[in-house]
């Protein structure tokens, strides 16, 4: 238990550091919330009055302290631009991002493990060579180009989905998940390709090791050698990648959200940065950072569980 406690504590410290950095960053970049709130109608007097009202004239650290204190009490503040409670906005969008990420992750696992194992199993064969080449190409396709292509092919030509026809999960869960089918695929594909490559080469190098010979000597079929012996070993380097890919998807789904018109955390983050709406930015970052940290922690734990040679500390 002490281990878990320690991990959580360091996580909180990290979160604290991230938020502080972000807060400071905001004070260094040009433009302030008041500019975007008042737009072209700003007069120096009105800007000043608004600044005073929002407390933007206090020293940075005082402002940060106020934000942090509020946050700890569960109050994420009010969005400057939307004038609505930040918590409401986040709760609205979080499920979107999480669902999409999880779906993409599922895609990645579902594609990469069977394909990677298959290619490794038939190393040097025709299918393996085809897989390797296709894989190399997929890896080289920029995800957002993949997004465009998928939209074009499946959305416009085959009409399998309506580009931009996003349906909120609050209205219809089924359609919501249905819409995320292709976007999550677009996110997953390049990462899955890399996972395939990694897994394949990892499996192939494991297959050369002595213990595999031992496994064969007991009458294991190639299949069971792969699944029961090699997979776990071969997954060790892949786990790190999968974990990272997951964090990456959480933090970096902005582009795909953009291409497919999905209103998730990424888009909120982007516009809020542009609007200098930092209560929202802070909240989104805390969310993303917390998710990323949790994923990292889980990866560490899994890593220790899979590889007995590594103690978790």
């Amino acid at each position: 238990m002490r281990y878990a406690g320690k991990k959580i504590l360091t996580m909180c410290v990290t979160l604290f550091a991230v938020t502080l950095f972000v807060f400071l960053a905001f004070h260094m970049i040009s433009g302030d919330p008041v500019t975007s709130m008042l737009g072209t109608q700003a007069t120096p007097e009105r800007a000043e009055a608004l600044r005073e009202e929002l407390g933007l004239n206090d020293p940075v650290l005082v402002q940060y302290g106020r934000w942090a204190a509020g946050f700890l009490k569960g109050d994420m503040g009010t969005s400057y631009s939307y004038r609505m409670p930040v918590s409401e906005m986040i709760l609205d969008k979080l499920p979107v991002t999480i669902t999409m990420t999880l779906m993409a992750f599922a895609w990645m696992i579902l594609i990469s493990i069977p394909v990677g194992l298959y290619a490794a199993k038939h190393e040097g064969g025709m299918t393996d060579r085809i897989i390797t080449v296709v894989n190399q190409i997929i890896m080289a396709v920029p995800p957002f180009f993949a997004g465009i292509l998928i939209t074009f092919v499946f959305g416009m030509i085959f009409r399998l989905f309506t580009p931009g026809g996003y349906v909120s999960y609050q209205i219809n869960i089924g359609k919501f998940v249905g819409y995320l089918f292709f976007p999550s695929l677009a996110i997953a594909l390049p990462k899955a390709a890399m996972a395939v490559k990694l897994l394949r080469s990892s499996v192939i190098s494991e297959m050369k090791l002595d213990y595999v010979r031992t496994a064969y000597s007991r009458g294991n079929s190639k299949r069971s050698v792969l699944y029961r012996h090699v997979l776990k070993n071969a997954m060790i380097p892949v786990i790190t990648f999968l974990g990272m890919a997951l964090s990456d998807m959480i933090a970096g789904s902005i582009i795909i959200e953009q291409v497919f018109g999905i209103p998730g955390l990424g888009r909120i983050l982007l516009t809020s940065i542009s609007n200098r709406d930092y209560p929202v930015v802070m909240a989104v970052i805390v969310c993303i950072a917390a998710l990323v940290l949790v994923v990292n922690m889980v990866v560490d734990v899994i890593y220790g569980l899979v590889d007995p040679r590594i103690s978790v500390e």
């Binding site: 040097g124 213990y211 031992t214 000597s217 007991r218 012996h229 776990k232 070993n233 590889d307 040679r309």
Partner: protein, 270 residues
């Protein structure tokens, strides 16, 4: 004489993964009968392990070529289909590997690995398998089999791992046991016990054993016949005593002469 168990004729093994193809085993011939123990000795790198692996059906890499015939109970292991081969492996043919350190799966528990052959070839229940595995671990003189059952390979010493390998190879009572330097990592007392164990299963179960070693005195204790290899060739073969007392080849003579003996230094001096 009892039934013929395995017959290897003209086995050649050639590697292609370097600039020049390398033949590492030439024209290997061997016949093994039920209940027979045959020793295979020879220079390091002479191809003992490669021949053993071929016999156990474990050389399948694409960048190597195998020629010849390995008949096991009438089936040619070199070109039979994998399924038939698998039926033999672990069940009728057991193999103990030379490198105990790397021959165990690092992420699986010892118990799981020892009882794997049972899982593959028998219908035993989980509890029965565990019982058998622990019995087996006990037979190879591991002090605390219950604990070892739950440990991972990296937590064992070299000798302990070697014994785990032996236990795993013998768990299905194979008809043919190929032992590639099974006692190199063991201290004499354990070595003695393992040799005794091999002898016992040979006697009781009529298990044929191909015993690879460089320890000629051990071979002499255990085997009836012996093959001597050098640079990929079997240079000499025949009953142990004959080879031991009337070696024909220069190399065999050297081998025998080089066996370390404890001649008291005082005696030596005198």
């Amino acid at each position: 004489m009892s039934k013929e168990m395995i017959r290897v004729t003209d086995l050649n093994i050639e590697f292609f993964d370097h600039e020049r193809p390398e033949t590492v085993v030439y024209d290997f011939d061997l016949t093994l009968h039920e209940g027979e123990i045959v020793g295979l000795v020879g220079e390091s790198g002479s191809g003992k392990s490669m021949s053993a692996l071929a016999i156990a059906g474990l050389l399948s890499r694409k960048d190597m070529k195998k020629r010849g015939e390995i008949l096991f109970e009438g089936v040619n292991l070199l070109d039979c289909d994998r399924k038939t081969l698998r039926k033999f492996q672990g069940n009728e043919i057991g193999m103990i590997f030379q490198e105990p350190m790397t021959s165990l799966n690092p992420v699986k528990k010892i118990g799981w690995q020892v009882e794997e052959a049972l899982r593959l070839h028998t219908e035993l229940s989980k509890e029965e398998r565990k019982k058998r595995a622990i019995e087996m671990l006990e037979k190879v003189e591991l002090h605390n089999p219950q604990q070892v059952y739950e440990q991972y390979p990296h937590e064992l010493s070299g000798g302990m791992r070697q014994r785990v390998m032996i236990a795993a190879a013998m768990i299905c009572d194979p008809k043919l046991l190929i032992a590639d330097e099974p006692t190199t990592a063991l201290d004499v007392t354990i070595q003695e016990q393992i040799v005794a164990l091999l002898k016992r299963i040979n006697r009781e179960k009529k298990t044929a054993i191909l015993f690879i070693s460089h320890d000629l005195s051990l071979v002499r204790q255990l085997c009836e016949r012996v093959l001597v290899m050098r640079r990929g060739y079997v240079v000499e073969s025949g009953p142990v005593d004959e080879i031991f007392y009337h070696p024909k080849e220069e190399y065999t003579k050297k081998l025998i002469a080089a066996i370390p003996r404890v001649i008291r230094k005082t005696e030596k001096d005198s």
